[in-house]
Symmetry: C2
Subunit: 217 residues, 2 copies
Amino acid sequence: MTKLRVHNLAVSIDGFATGEGRTFEAPFGHAGQRLMGWFFPTRSFGSMSGHGDEAYGPGTTGVDDAFAAATKVGIGAEIMGRGKFGPQTGPWEDETWQGWWGDEPPFHSPVIVLTHYPRPDIVLGETTFLFRNVSPQEALAEATELAGGLDVRLGGGPTIVREFLEADLVDHMHIVVSPIVLGRGVSLWEGLEGVEERFAVEAVASPTGVVHYVFTR
Amino acid sequence: MTKLRVHNLAVSIDGFATGEGRTFEAPFGHAGQRLMGWFFPTRSFGSMSGHGDEAYGPGTTGVDDAFAAATKVGIGAEIMGRGKFGPQTGPWEDETWQGWWGDEPPFHSPVIVLTHYPRPDIVLGETTFLFRNVSPQEALAEATELAGGLDVRLGGGPTIVREFLEADLVDHMHIVVSPIVLGRGVSLWEGLEGVEERFAVEAVASPTGVVHYVFTR
């Protein structure tokens, strides 16, 4: 059965998944790259940034990489929020924006982008972006069909993950807590009191200082 | 040199160190006993609840107990907030209240209780409660003198710990994160953006599901 999975979602120890003041130049706002500092040194990040799935790129191969790599296994489609696709808000003024990822995005699957402002599909390499103004349930139904028996990745950002958690649609969630106090930004947990009761929770601390949490049904 | 140490301070994964709606019957508010669920099964908790330091009481002796036990080592005085001493607020209407702990409180040392409403000292067994309306710096100076070369424990609650962190007086801090989303209550981290930069941070996950963080200078 298709599962909806969240991977590599990084939050601060005070629960913020991205900082304040997000712009094109600073997609994580004042958080900068600190929330993803555990990810960049991994082999998985190296291989995602252009060497392809098969290349054994440079980088660490410890627990951080083991978790990072899981995001690629058995995924047939992704759902993401518009904030992950690009920094724009409101009606599309410029449809030349095709995401952050260049000619060969790392998804290699259909990607449903949730937005109030649909636009034509974009095909880039093995990735197709489909823009939809639909409910979480409808997005998941379409993504499940597109995934062809594989799982669906819920790619973020945090607001989208929160909405799918509120709708109780998430089956697997990998959260990475960095020991930094961001103080402000977009909270992952707001409005989700008691959400842990719907999951079994496992935690493992990495020597790099982050803690990996796995929430499963 | 005397250090100011915080031990066994439990917070939720969204950063709340106590819940909303605290009363005499529910000192942690809607959090109930969930934040301290890791602590009660430990041998250290058993020995604190009446068997004395030397008794090898019942209870677990794994990583949770190892951390729990550290709070008793090398402490010569404690500083606590009034909210830890009792549920009352405002002027003391009834000085018969002598804390939660009965005739032999587990502190076995002088305890400075920070309050806007001083009252006469209370001597209970080996513990003396001293009520002071002073700044964090002044409280630490007096506690350091009382500690006679040992360390000073900052006993909480979270508001007091936050004030001492803001004043940059904390040398060692042991935080225990439970994988629960409380949603509301008293935040440990509010107003402390970037506090981690003043510490080295170590994390270890316990098989019981909590994560122990140690912040040291």
